[in-house]
Amino acid sequence: MLELHGVCVRYGKVDTLCDVTLCVPAGQTLAVVGESGAGKSTLIAAILGLVKLAAGQITWAGAPVHTCRPSLVMQEPRAAFNPVLPLRRSIMEPLTARAEQLSDARLAHICNRLELPIDLLDRKPGEVSIGQAQRAGILRALIAGSPLILFDEPLSALDAVTQKHTAQLIADLQDEMGFAALVVTHDLGYAAAFGDNIAVLRKGRVEEITPTHAFIQHPKSDYGEDLRQAAFALGALGYGA
């Protein structure tokens, strides 16, 4: 279980994260929603250890979070891969770093689940579609074998049809492998469809954390209600249904 306790991150004199406390149990998904500049990306950077904490602690199963080697799926699928190297090299990096091997059967299985032809991995990022690149990004996170995967706006670069399909793939794989997922998104529809819980982030603070079904009925915070109204107005809440 991922636990954040009173986490603060400071850039200069500004608190980009302030007293953030939340948890994500194994096998569950927490969707973090909020407007641009709410501190969503900083939250991910904090969990990955890319920024220094001004206060608080982040743990996985009681140990410092880096011990579980969390993986990250990025917003820009192609930028996550070195443009001059074949995808396979980048995907295998977590394993080469630990001098581990991956059985061909396992790789074939995951590729199959992700609907990625295995020979696609020998292409360069510029030679595959955005959707394929994003699934390759998910593949990298999965074969790294970490029990915690962070998704930073994983669908926003994709077109609508691919979005829905990719979201469903992630959900199915989570059911099979049981990793904990923290998804940062501004798309409340996606959050509502696939998150077990929804956390609302605003100006670096957590406004509320609510189970999804309860959130759709009745958000606890005024800002959460604003978000819900806005999503209804756009007809976005009806995603997975």
């Binding site: 080697r69 930028a79 996550a80 891969f81 001059v84 770093a97």
Partner: protein, 264 residues
């Protein structure tokens, strides 16, 4: 682009084949034929000791181009290591290395090379040392700049998260992105090295006689400016053509790479 490439190829061929193509022994002294005008037996005339100027120029190409090539590669190696170490090694190391780079840049490169080569007493070894020590700074700055901008790229972040060692990250992700910028800097430094070698030769701090180096040939010819002005023209033309060809090749390369960036 193609004509530039052809010109550059021609110079490389000359440098490699120079000794074979040379009609005479560049060191063969022939006092009766001293300061002969061009034409007839001596295509470009002879110098004050009656040595064939064309042969000396062709042999000299090896010094100018070969040494300049080596020196610019040494600079490339030192500079890339320093720049990448600065970009990847944390704030304190970055500050130290960049102040070191500034210290070397706090002095015109060629003047610094003159001081070093002069103090060490001339000759090829001190020439290589002097020009290498004063030619790595630009590479270091470029490598550091590109390195810092790569640090936040998605694939570098992913490699760090994967737990790849800094050296592996530098090897796989930084060098490939650095290569285009470094090659452009390298062409400029190659041309500068040719100018530097001949300048040191001209001041008497470079390649020593009897070896025929273009700058040293100019120094010899200068004394006989009135009697044989053409002897002073040839080595200069050789330097200018080489430097021009390399600079144009560098420009073309830069434009081609910029074009590629736009297309991507």
């Amino acid at each position: 682009m193609r004509s530039v490439a052809l010109l550059a190829c021609a110079f490389v061929t000359l440098a490699v084949l120079g000794p074979v193509l040379a009609p005479y022994d560049p060191a063969a002294i022939n006092i009766p034929a001293r300061l002969s005008p061009p034409g007839g037996q001596w295509h470009l005339g002879t110098d004050a000791l009656g040595r064939d100027t064309l042969s000396r120029l062709l042999h000299g190409a090896r010094w100018s181009l070969g040494l300049a090539f080596g020196i610019s590669l040494i600079g490339l190696l030192i500079g890339t290591c320093v720049g990448l170490a600065a970009a990847l090694g944390g704030k304190a190391l970055d500050w130290t290395l960049m102040r070191m780079t500034d210290s070397f840049l706090a002095f015109p490169e060629l003047v610094a090379a003159v001081v070093i080569a002069g103090i060490l007493g001339g000759g090829i070894n001190s020439l290589i040392l002097a020009l290498s020590l004063t030619s790595w700074m630009r590479y270091a700055r470029v490598a550091r700049g590109v390195g810092l901008s790569l640090k936040s790229r998605g694939y570098v972040v992913q490699a760090r998260l994967a737990g790849l060692s800094p050296i592996a990250i530098a090897r796989w992700h930084y060098l490939s992105s650095l290569a285009p910028s470094l090659i452009v800097v390298w062409t400029g430094m190659f041309a500068r090295a040719i100018l530097g070698i001949s300048a040191l030769g001209f001041l008497g701090f470079g390649v020593q006689p009897p070896m025929s180096e273009w700058g040293a040939m100019l120094l010899d010819a200068r004394v006989h400016m009135r009697a044989a002005p053409l002897q002073m023209i040839w080595p200069g033309i050789a330097v200018v053509l080489c430097v021009l060809a390399i600079n144009l090749a560098g420009d073309a390369l830069r434009d081609a790479l910029a074009q590629k960036d736009i297309e991507e």
